[in-house]
């Protein structure tokens, strides 16, 4: 909040500047629009003047020597002369000060011409008032100044030299000019007030618009800041969750390592005591103890178990993109089966020899097959030999590969089936809870999906579906 307060003056200045910009934008738009209006108006007046000259002038000038065709010429030529410069300026310099002042003068000359063509009819003088009103559309009172001067000058000069042209009579009263000037001045006052009011309103509107814009901007900025905050706290939460998960993982793996390490340490103690015992001294005597040999083997097995635990952890922690190579499934499954630890189940590899070859990361896939097969054989029920069947299909005719590992074991209780792919979740007494988490990760990295269908007491089917371009899009 403090920052915002210190920013206040700058913000006000910015709003003022923006309001000016908006105001001038509106003004310019008005100037250009009214310029266009006058272009149309003048062309209409020109056509009207020619028509007027053709139809009306002879009667307006009845009894005089003026010839009809002269008025027509005047209408065409003078009208053209009056119209041409404003047209040119409105085309080349729309909205400029010069353009609208020239237009103002030209419009008043049009009044003069029309008054002349109508034989100085008093009704035609209303054209002057109409024109001034039109000019007020500019909302720029200054254009009324040259317009008024032109009207006044025209009336003055013509009253002196050619009164019929402007009043329709040859001897108007000397103050006739003043009477007209008074009404023009009266309208000018009204129009100047209207212009000033219009400009003031325009300013108010611009000011409000700028304020609204500023408000919108402030709101957007606040919203954006809120979103940034949200993102930051989300990231912080993710980080702390990840840290917590890593902590749990470390604890879990640490605990898992303690059992094999205890066995290895005690086996090692036993062997070294046997070797150093003065009564049974000598490697030969120690070798005669069957336990020494047994424990050497045991150390090897337990160290392998430690390696496996660490390997699981690394597989999980280091999520590398799959290195895709064409890899036939049937031999890969044979390899995985050969690497399974001792178990009480029969594993049948029923993957067809002729199955199309998918692109896989061989090491990753062998690992997940081992994890799945190990779960399958461990699920074997105690009362009978388990049977695990691996099947596969698809891979041709635009169909995805479907690899299925099915067992007839104990099944997964429905209340835990949703959790089995979560890291650290395990139902085994000895297990890191990483095996299926690794499986899920690898399948995901290959762009595939994994489904589990399990019936407690009857068995479990795990189905991996790989898209045709297996993994191609995954990296």
């Amino acid at each position: 909040m403090t920052t915002r307060e210190t920013n206040m003056p700058t913000t006000t200045e910015a709003v003022g500047a923006r309001a000016d910009t908006i105001f001038h934008g509106h003004q310019d738009a008005i100037y250009r629009r009214v310029d266009k209006l006058f272009v149309v108006l003048m062309l209409v007046q020109w056509a009207f003047a020619i028509g007027l000259a053709l139809v009306f002038s002879p009667y307006g000038w009845a009894g005089k020597v003026k010839a009809t065709h002269l008025h027509v010429y005047a209408a065409v030529l003078l009208g053209g002369a009056i119209t041409s410069l404003p047209l040119l300026l409105a085309w080349r310099r729309p909205g400029s000060v010069a353009t609208r002042h020239v237009i103002a003068c030209a419009q008043m000359l049009w009044s003069a011409l029309l008054i002349h063509l109508s034989g100085g009819r008093i009704e035609t003088h209303f054209h002057v008032f109409g024109s001034l009103a039109f000019l007020a559309f500019y909302r720029d009172w200054k254009v009324l100044v040259p317009a008024t001067l032109v009207v006044a000058l025209d009336h003055l000069v013509r009253q002196i030299y050619w009164p019929e042209s402007v009043y329709g009579v040859t001897n108007p009263e000397w103050w006739r000019f003043l009477e007209h000037a008074f009404w023009v001045a009266f309208e000018d006052v009204v129009l100047v007030l209207a212009c000033l009011r219009g400009v003031a309103e325009l300013r108010t509107i611009s000011q409000r618009q700028a304020q609204v814009e500023q408000l919108e901007r402030d709101k957007s900025v606040a919203l954006d800041e809120a979103l940034v905050d949200l993102k930051r706290s989300h990231e912080a939460r993710l980080r702390s969750e990840k840290l917590a998960a890593v902590g749990q993982l470390a604890a879990s793996v640490g605990h898992e390592l303690r059992n094999p390490l205890t066995a290895v340490r005690n086996a090692n103690t036993y062997i070294s005591r046997r070797l150093n015992d003065p009564k049974t001294a000598g490697a030969g005597a120690a070798a005669a103890d069957p336990k020494v040999l047994q424990f050497v083997g045991l150390i090897d097995r337990e160290l392998t178990a430690c390696t496996k635990i660490i390997g699981d952890l690394l597989d999980f922690a280091r999520e590398r993109p799959p290195d895709l190579q064409p890899c036939p499934l049937r031999p890969l499954i044979d390899e995985a089966v050969a690497l399974l630890p001792a178990h009480r189940a029969r594993v049948r590899n029923e993957v067809p020899e002729a199955l199309p070859v998918p692109s896989l990361d061989k090491d990753q896939f062998r690992q997940i097959l081992i994890n799945l097969l190990q779960n399958a054989v461990e699920a074997a029920r105690p009362d009978r030999e388990g049977e695990v069947v691996v099947t596969a299909e698809g891979g041709g005719d635009g169909r995805p590969w479907r690899l299925c590992v099915a067992d007839d074991g104990a099944g997964i209780p429905p209340e835990v089936v949703d959790k089995i792919f979560e890291p650290l979740f395990t139902t085994k007494i000895k297990g890191t809870g990483l095996g299926l988490a690794v499986v899920a990760n690898v399948v995901r990295l290959h762009g595939g999906t994994i489904h589990v269908d399990s019936r407690p007491g009857e068995g479990t089917r795990v189905v991996i579906e790989l898209p045709l371009a297996a993994g191609q899009q995954a990296a």
């Binding site: 303690r258 066995a263 097995r301």
Partner: protein, 247 residues
């Protein structure tokens, strides 16, 4: 004298085998059981001097085994092995009088003194000049399965220690005839394997420092709940021999 008989219980055969082999090498008679159920049947049917059991096993856990043994009126000492440092189960077993808890991984050679100590069924000696306090504490320990005795003066304490079957002394620091630090030093001189747990009713940092320097296992400020005392006794009993291997 017949050799000590130990029942080793763990579902991990590798761990069970190696621990058993080392105990046999020490001249103990070892019987192995792969589950809590099997161990319970064996312990009820045959005499044992010690049950050394894992905590986490499929089926009956080590703690459950301990309880079932107590229910079967067996007073065989039980030492638990665990890979998990903080487990509510273990805490409960200690409250119920389990002798000690060994954190894995351990080397049988290092923890052998703990096992030998357990098999001797040693006494916890409570020394406090206020007889009521001393006897209440001893009775509370005995009620939860810890063999305990109470004395009210330094001379009696040293006499009982001299009989050779005390492994933990709970010493009140404020005694009329001798300072707490000196009593601890004299007990340790009589039997260096004894762990002294010193207790004080007041916040006396300097005295506590001296007592710790004279070889006390730990110093507690009264009032000490009996459960906390049991936890400290079990920890004192599980301490390995001097020269424990690092890590």
């Amino acid at each position: 004298m017949r050799p000590f008989r130990v029942l080793v219980v763990d579902d991990e055969s590798a761990l069970r085998l190696t621990v058993a082999a080392n105990l046999e090498l020490e001249g103990l008679e070892v019987v192995e059981a792969a589950s809590g159920e099997e161990a319970l049947a064996l312990a009820v049917a045959q005499p044992f001097d010690l049950v050394l059991t894992d905590v986490r096993m499929p089926g009956m856990s080590g703690v459950e085994l301990y309880r079932r043994l107590r229910e079967a009126r067996s007073d065989v000492p039980v030492v638990l092995m665990t890979a998990f440092a903080l487990e509510a189960l273990i805490e409960q077993a200690v409250q119920e009088g389990a002798f000690a808890v060994l954190p894995k991984p351990f080397d049988v050679q290092d923890v052998l003194p703990v096992l030998i100590r357990a098999m001797r069924r040693p006494l916890v000696l409570v020394i406090d000049d206020q007889a009521l306090l001393a006897e209440t504490a001893a009775a509370a320990l005995a009620a939860s399965g810890v063999r305990a005795a109470a004395v009210t003066d330094a001379a009696s304490a040293l006499r009982v220690v001299g009989e050779g079957n005390v492994d933990v002394c709970v010493v009140d620091l404020v005694m009329p005839d001798v300072s707490g630090a000196e009593l601890v030093a004299r007990i340790r001189a009589a039997d260096p394997t004894i762990a002294c747990i010193a207790m004080s009713g007041h916040d006396v940092p300097e005295m506590m420092r001296r007592v710790a320097a004279s070889g006390a296992f730990t110093v507690l400020q009264k009032p000490v709940p009996i459960s906390a005392l049991q936890r400290v006794i079990a920890a004192a009993r599980a301490r390995p021999a001097r020269g424990q291997r690092p890590g």
